[in-house]
């Protein structure tokens, strides 16, 4: 169904790979936007976690990427696309505890192997596609009216 473009907010944010000093700033901005619009705080929390995990995946593994946020009166949607190594075995990556993080990343508290499953857990709809050697694309949706969930 086509939405009235007036009440659809679209904003995209650039994420730079390996830039750990600014890691998390995109998800913070996303959270602030959701708060200003007046989204329910439990939805905001889930959205913030999903956005953060997606952002961190780009920071940790890719060269660069982009998080595109779309908000309509019905849902929040993140499209996260990166240029990076991609994921060889998505099924494996979706298992809790599976991680390809390096020793350094783990020491910084990242790469507990919860990223993708955690996004899935916090989203109402989650799709992932990846081309090894090229990049990964995530589609994350959260419904605003919880009655419409699933």
């Amino acid at each position: 169904m086509m939405m009235n473009a007036e009440n659809v907010l679209f904003q995209s944010f650039e994420i730079i790979g390996r830039d750990f000093s600014r890691a998390g700033s995109v998800s913070t901005k996303v959270k602030e936007i959701l708060q200003e619009i007046g989204i329910d705080s439990t939805v905001i929390r889930r959205a913030a976690i999903a956005a953060y995990e997606a952002e961190m995946n780009v920071v940790m593994y890719a060269n660069r990427g982009e998080l595109a946020l779309t908000i309509t009166p019905k849902k929040i949607h993140f499209k996260v696309e990166d240029k990076g190594p991609g994921i060889e075995d998505i099924e494996m990556a979706m298992q809790e505890g599976y991680s390809t993080a390096t020793e350094e990343m783990r020491e910084m508290g990242f790469g507990a192997g919860m990223g993708l499953p955690n996004i899935k857990k916090n989203a109402d709809k989650f799709e992932i596609s990846s081309i090894p050697g090229s990049g990964t694309k995530l589609d994350i949706t959260l419904h605003l009216n919880q009655a419409e969930k699933k």
Binding site: E36, S41, A48
Partner: protein, 469 residues
């Protein structure tokens, strides 16, 4: 719209419109309106940063005057353990409590003992708790308000155990009213506070209950009189004075003091609002799930750093630390009976009486469609602004200005960079006027004139930069 009571008030006569307060406010609750500071009530979390920042003393913390005592038939002082840290090492809590009685209170209660009890109760709660972690201490009312306003998603992680000051006031009022055959309302319990926000937690508790305390008196107000009252008081036994100090509770005056009593593997202590914001952001992202407990204070180093204290906060922090070390060295372990605390805990004795509800900021619009549109408009306006956060419009940053415009609380014309269009056609006249505004000395040769003009221009630029800084 709810009306929020605040511990902070602007004295317009004293306010010179410098707006330092506006720049330090962590929740963007201050604006310049008509050249004076104005507080936006729903945004304010009573942290007191503005009180410290104002060079004119125009932001006034609202505490109770000493005269309030005369309203009650029996008065009790309940000093924050931070009071114990205000005096030299020789002056121990027993003397301070005696000094308070000499000052005119009928009773003075040692809060450290109750702090110790609450530490045990928190231990019980942590042991039984199964929800998302970390749990967050509610000792600092500013932190509780910050969560209500900015991190409503973390509300359920605030520990629902009542604060020592409230429990102490409740119990002592019960006891004293019985002892002297008075009505409970005839007994007045006054908290001696290191910060203005405790005043609010008394008048308007975060959990929407009613406070057991009747008022708060600033430590800075009572310091002088108390010091005189203690002069010439008989020196008791040092050992005996030490033995009356609860080793678990005394540490509540400083950041980290609570955590050391809880014996947790994973706890964090944070102090200072800007640091708290970073840590809370991390909690929201789910990064600190392996931490059990967070002790957070809006003032640096904890309550000893409150804006209504006298002693340098590092000195007072150190005094508490040394006191704990002395108690440990002397093997003095006065503390409450843990079995008694557990028994009372089971009877819900230690829990908050109400529930802490979120207090999220008003969205841009109640209607979701309109809110989304306004958010887009805000972004468009922001893109046009100079993004230098000069504050001349009366909003702390260009981004908040854009929001104020969308909310209808400011006008685009308030931005000095938004030069009114109709004036643009006079640009030549204006430029001529500007040239005339620096009369040159006619006796100087032309080349020197030019040099001087250059210098003057630089100076004006410098002054402008200075003024901006």
């Amino acid at each position: 719209m709810n009306h929020y009571f605040h511990s902070i008030r602007v004295d317009s006569d004293k306010c010179s419109g410098r707006m330092r307060c506006m720049r330090v406010c962590p929740t963007q609750a201050l604006r310049a309106r008509g050249g004076k500071a104005k507080i936006i009530e729903e945004r304010c979390i009573d942290c007191g940063e503005c009180i410290t920042a104002c060079p004119n003393g125009a932001i006034i913390p609202l505490t109770d005057p000493f005269g309030e005592l005369s309203k009650f038939r029996h008065t009790i002082a309940i000093p924050s353990p931070a009071l114990y840290a205000q005096f030299g090492r020789e002056i121990l809590p027993d003397k301070i409590l005696a000094g308070l009685k000499k000052l005119g209170f009928d009773d003075a209660v040692d809060l450290a003992q109750t702090c110790g009890e609450v530490s045990f109760a928190i231990q019980e709660y942590l042991r039984e708790y199964k929800g998302p972690k970390p749990l967050i201490s509610n000792a600092c009312p500013t932190v509780v308000r910050l969560i209500q306003v900015k991190y409503p998603g973390l509300i359920d992680q605030i520990i629902p155990i009542n604060t020592p000051r409230e429990i102490a006031a409740r119990e002592i009022k019960k006891k004293k009213s019985k002892q002297y055959d008075l009505k409970e309302k005839e007994v007045g319990a006054f908290y001696l506070t290191p910060c203005p926000v405790k005043m609010i937690s008394i008048r308007q508790p975060a959990e929407k209950g009613k406070s057991n305390l009747d008022g708060a008196i600033s430590i800075s107000d009572i310091y002088g009189p108390l010091l005189s009252a203690m002069e010439g008081m008989e020196k008791g036994s040092y050992r005996k004075a030490l033995e009356s100090i609860c080793i678990l509770g005394i540490g509540w005056a400083m950041a980290g003091g609570m955590s050391r009593t809880l014996r947790l593997k994973n706890s964090l202590t944070v102090s200072g609002l800007s640091e708290i914001l970073k840590v809370f952001d991390d909690i929201e992202r789910g990064k600190l799930r392996n931490i059990d407990f967070i002790e957070a204070y809006s003032c640096h180093q904890g309550c000893v750093g409150g804006s209504l204290t006298i002693e340098n906060l590092y000195i007072s922090y150190n005094k508490i630390l040394k006191l704990i070390e002395t108690l440990e060295f002397e093997k003095i372990k006065a503390c409450p009976d843990i079995r008694e605390v557990r028994r009372l805990y089971q009877q819900k004795y230690s829990f908050l009486e109400g529930k802490i509800e979120p207090r999220p900021l008003k969205p841009l619009d109640e209607d979701l469609n309109k809110a989304i549109m306004k958010r887009k408009e805000k972004e468009i306006i922001y893109e046009k602004l100079p993004k230098i956060d000069c504050g001349a419009c009366g909003s702390p940053t260009c981004l908040t200005f854009a929001e104020d415009v969308v909310r209808g609380e400011a006008e685009l014309a308030d931005c000095i960079f938004n030069f009114p269009r109709p004036l643009r056609k006079f640009r030549h006249e204006i430029s001529e006027l500007l040239d005339k505004s620096f009369p040159l000395n006619p006796t100087l040769s032309e080349s020197e004139e030019k040099k001087k003009e250059g210098r003057k221009k630089n100076e004006t630029k410098r002054n402008y930069r200075k003024a901006k800084a």
